[in-house]
Subunit: 142 residues, 2 copies
Amino acid sequence: MADIEHLQIVKASAADVYFALTTAKGLSEVWTNELTVHELVGAVNEFQFGSDDLTKMQIVELIPGERIEWLCVESDPEWVGTSLSFELEEKKGKTYVTFRQTNWAKVTDFYRSCNYNWAMFLYSLKLYCEEGQGMPFQRRKF
Amino acid sequence: MADIEHLQIVKASAADVYFALTTAKGLSEVWTNELTVHELVGAVNEFQFGSDDLTKMQIVELIPGERIEWLCVESDPEWVGTSLSFELEEKKGKTYVTFRQTNWAKVTDFYRSCNYNWAMFLYSLKLYCEEGQGMPFQRRKF
């Protein structure tokens, strides 16, 4: 088994980071603007990346300002069954974001690529929370 | 033990990416502009990040256009003894960069932070190779 784990600092409140990670407005700036987002445990969020690439995340936990957890229920086979969590801790006006995608079967080239791309997602989160504009899929240069 | 592994695509030749990762000019744009860089196996490169933070990397392998390996010999205690490698593979005008920092004692908050920051380094590498200007330590917003 393998996990992806990142820690990043965002100069914004935990409430603002939580908003960015749980609302259609926030996630459309941070990740992809083709999405359906719910704010309810048990519901399934949908994220589209181009015409073929659909990812569905079931919401497992929502603790405002503190913690978000998703279970990937549809996507690339290497993602299905992985757990994704964002833990937020605000200290002196900054929010420490610990991101994890756990339960990968093994370290593959797709794992390596996703590890890089989750950091790009977190960088987009930082840009959106600090400067008002993120770098979602549609605006990234690949 | 724990490893950091990323895979990134740069729209540039492997020769250009190799230049960026092995020369003072390249590494000053990609990582930090306070540095001493050699292009000789066995030599020790020095990278400074602000007044207190010095990292020394002994060059273990240099295969032009293909592979670079460093051994960290001085830095944060969690880094000393880790191996760092960049493997380059050019396909259809793009270079696939596999980066690894192996031999971490365990997954800590510093590991998580470095995992994020190595991706920022790779993003800086991409910006430099594709657009001519990277995002080294001195120009990054933390």
